[in-house]
Symmetry: C2
Amino acid sequence: MPLVTDLDVLRDIATRIRIHSVESTAAANSGHPTTCASIAEIMSVLFFNTMRYATCSPRDPSSDRFVLSKGHAAPALYAAWIENGLIPAPEILKLRQLGCDLEGHPTPRLNFVDVGTGSLGQGLAITAGMAYTVKHYDKIDARIYCLIGDGESAEGSIWESIAFISYYKLDNVVLIIDANRLGQSEPTAVAHNLDLYKQRLDAFGWNAVIVDGHDVGALVKAFDDAESVKGKPTALIAKTYKGRDFPGIEDKENWHGKALGKETERILTHLRGLLKYQGDLKYTIPKPLNVAPQVNIRNITLSSPPSYKLGEAIATRQAYGTALVKIAQTNPRVIALDGDMKNSTFSEQLKKFDPNRYIECFIAEQNLVGAAIGAACRDRVVAFVSTFAAFLTRAFDQIRMGAISQTNVNFVGSHCGVSIGEDGASQMALEDLAMFRAIPGGTVFYPADAVACERAVELAANTPGVCYLRVNRPTTKVVYPNDHHFEIGKATVVFSSPKDQVLVIGGGITLQESITAAAELAQQKIYVRVLDLFTIKPIDQQAIIKNAREVGGRILVVEDHYPEGGIGEAVLSAVSEERDIFVRKIAVPRVPRSGTPAAVLDYYGLTAKHIANYIKDILKK
Amino acid sequence: MPLVTDLDVLRDIATRIRIHSVESTAAANSGHPTTCASIAEIMSVLFFNTMRYATCSPRDPSSDRFVLSKGHAAPALYAAWIENGLIPAPEILKLRQLGCDLEGHPTPRLNFVDVGTGSLGQGLAITAGMAYTVKHYDKIDARIYCLIGDGESAEGSIWESIAFISYYKLDNVVLIIDANRLGQSEPTAVAHNLDLYKQRLDAFGWNAVIVDGHDVGALVKAFDDAESVKGKPTALIAKTYKGRDFPGIEDKENWHGKALGKETERILTHLRGLLKYQGDLKYTIPKPLNVAPQVNIRNITLSSPPSYKLGEAIATRQAYGTALVKIAQTNPRVIALDGDMKNSTFSEQLKKFDPNRYIECFIAEQNLVGAAIGAACRDRVVAFVSTFAAFLTRAFDQIRMGAISQTNVNFVGSHCGVSIGEDGASQMALEDLAMFRAIPGGTVFYPADAVACERAVELAANTPGVCYLRVNRPTTKVVYPNDHHFEIGKATVVFSSPKDQVLVIGGGITLQESITAAAELAQQKIYVRVLDLFTIKPIDQQAIIKNAREVGGRILVVEDHYPEGGIGEAVLSAVSEERDIFVRKIAVPRVPRSGTPAAVLDYYGLTAKHIANYIKDILKK
């Protein structure tokens, strides 16, 4: 977009952004005014000249989008939306107060924020996912602008996204590096050696341009030029100063993350003196170029019901691939992303069905997760992310921020537990349930068989919040009929008799071993009940308590996971206020070893033989 | 090192490495022989010409070191240590069998392995920490060689380490990229465009050289040349072929991660035909250049006992900084690493005391953690890593692998929980206890006050395995006398009477609020006991059960954490087999908001007023 707003107006808006930032952080007595000051001109030019968007409809999918990756500059973002009229100005004086959505860092509680930011280095992956969706699924000309700090450019996640965006030639991305030289506790590693950034970005295939980040005219031109660069993304390396236009504070250390305190009035007086205009300003916000297509991602269903035989041996990871294709057949907005594990996780099934709906993210799990969250923003796609469950730990911070971002991305972790066998501990997820259970508002599925897995995929596609499916590498036997009805938070008794004395709870492999143990014990006239939780979170508290009481208050939980945070503790939480319930937890107690799946499961006591012994031991008490 | 072993011998060793890799993976019927084949010459030249090391003493701190970041090529590493005589050859035919330490991916169960690898992208951070220690603490000329895969170079963590190693001019590092073109499920993003790697590494300040990875003479020369490059690290971009010398398989897709099956004999026959020599080979392994200094990192103590007044308000994060300096005063090998948060975590106290023992890692938490693990290898330093606890989630995979690596690194997470207030959810660690509890063999400290915190630091410095200290941003009152004796796994009753009816358990802020609640309730003749766990893992099961029984089996747990995996579930696990114990868990139930610490703690029900009400409610039951 060429110049459409007067440069003096853009300068005044930048100053007003600084004033809002200083006033609001002073009122809150905390925050990052110097960080806001370095980006004031960038924000002014983007929001009042360059970006095409609808002020009245901040989540309009047709609009250009802006991601403030350096979330601690939140007041500058809020100020822009004050100046364009969305937020009443006095609101910002409630910054950081309980109950005010203008929080310390931006979250989607605000309708003009797509994702929560504040843990650095994540915004560019979000941008990558948005840009991919806009270009390849919505097929419109909207552009995505991402502002990162220079300190934050040290995050490896940024470089994963830089590689991804360039590999996919996402020329609708503009990255702005706010190179204000100063980190929190000392100058950044690169400081103002801006050529270094340029060399690195050039080498990663970007159109990298150094620009004076406080010169509104130069910024207008740089953004306009970026639009004409095709086939590669553009990065503006903006030379800025922290605390710009705060005399005595500008470019000085020890001013990170604090309100200006006794300097506040002096700085405000200075800033007000810089204003050319009083009252309303005349500016132009360009309209979006195209209209994004209508999209419906509700009520997604499998194209056909599960079709297995009872007792058939099939891995739940394979059922995931089958179900993914089935929901993709009924909804054109189902997509999958993977980190070069697609032939192990079976996400390649979707690639085979429709290559356009599979995004290869290579071995870069942080960008993988962030790109999925970005892609799913504004309800444009239903995204499934898969890789080995152990490697999802690589993106714990992104998943955590995903919950803050109110994302609906679905995660599928394969190769969980010691049951993978020979590859050994580095590839065995034994803490994934602990991780995903701790995601607020999340749903954790642990399908027992292929039938349950297909339905879990279908339910996840329709369930808000972070969903996680834990799937197995080895085969398990089909235990459910194809027409079984599954619900989130609803457990099923899969083995029982009227004389049961112990309630056994397992998941995946250990559920199957528990059924085997129960059947064997029944031959010995020892009767136990086996419960399949289906979802570990939410957990079917009612079924657990009812069945536990019916068997005399004895529960045995056996899980292919470390003892902390998994099924055992989920069950304990469910019965915590019940007296008279005894729970014995069996889990993997230490870093496991390599071996065949059968040998390793036996060694760590997770097979039917051991389960039978645990049960006998409990009955002795 | 110039050529010291005959080139034909080096070629034969490379072939022998291939033969071992094929035979062992065939015996295991799993593994990655084609991945081993691409690095055979690199391994041969490193282990039989270039590296200076003592075969008989694989963890000799004076030796050059090798980190196999692409851990799935483990058989090639094992083969090298067979050929140099450390391991008997037949041992490798037990590859991946339960009980054999030659596991699917390398772990330090083997004395020639420093760290577990297999989750990709982590070895270069390990290398960075080793190289920093060797250069700045041991002050010897040992060199560190790190071999990564080309697929793995997509991991952002690699680029964090590339930036770190160049920033600190660690010219004792040689990175080798095994550019074999093929990932697991398709070609890598860069494939054989090796100039791209060179441009990127050049831009990051490395001496980057493209070399034929199958030409032993070229490799000898490249490694030798690297040694003469001062002030910058060297990267060799080795052009290789996956499945090299496996006719019909070399450079073909769909051969990742599988034994050669029915092709095995054909390939072995071909490989044996390439051998020039039979029987013992003549080679030279150069000796280390210097002798590393003797180091003692046992029995570390505070230079002076804690010195606080009861009731004094001081943040545990500040006590961490004080204690860090105190142990640094008594042991010259105590170091600290931080990610540009040192003025918030108080790790800057160590920098002020001795700048040489503080390593600034900037905003790159994965390299921060990996570098600490690398630094601590071979017992050279006692490393403390600090940042906001929320940001340690960024390195969950590194910490998880740290446990597999048997690391002794200590982690300090500040700014935990909603009690940080205004900054909001992105900065609040509410899942850190879940994360660290799930680390096998780990210890989780949650010091209640400054006295406890100083002793926790001292204990952590001496405790094997991953230690985690959760510290608070706000001040808390000193509740312990300076001479209180703390032990891991030993709880202390901090408030009690003979008539107690409820056992209240909190941590940090909530412990303090619980004490206040207990004191207020005592005025109303309602008596409760307050227990400080000190360590959440291991947990003082005996004290919990004993005290719970004494108060009628009623436990209230109040924690500034999400409900899953924290103190509440740790307590539940401790009492799981006890009937007649009721546990009520109070935690932060959803993504929290910004606000003042007091307002937010009140809003989420974590203050004394609320705790008093929970207690009254429990007593009604």
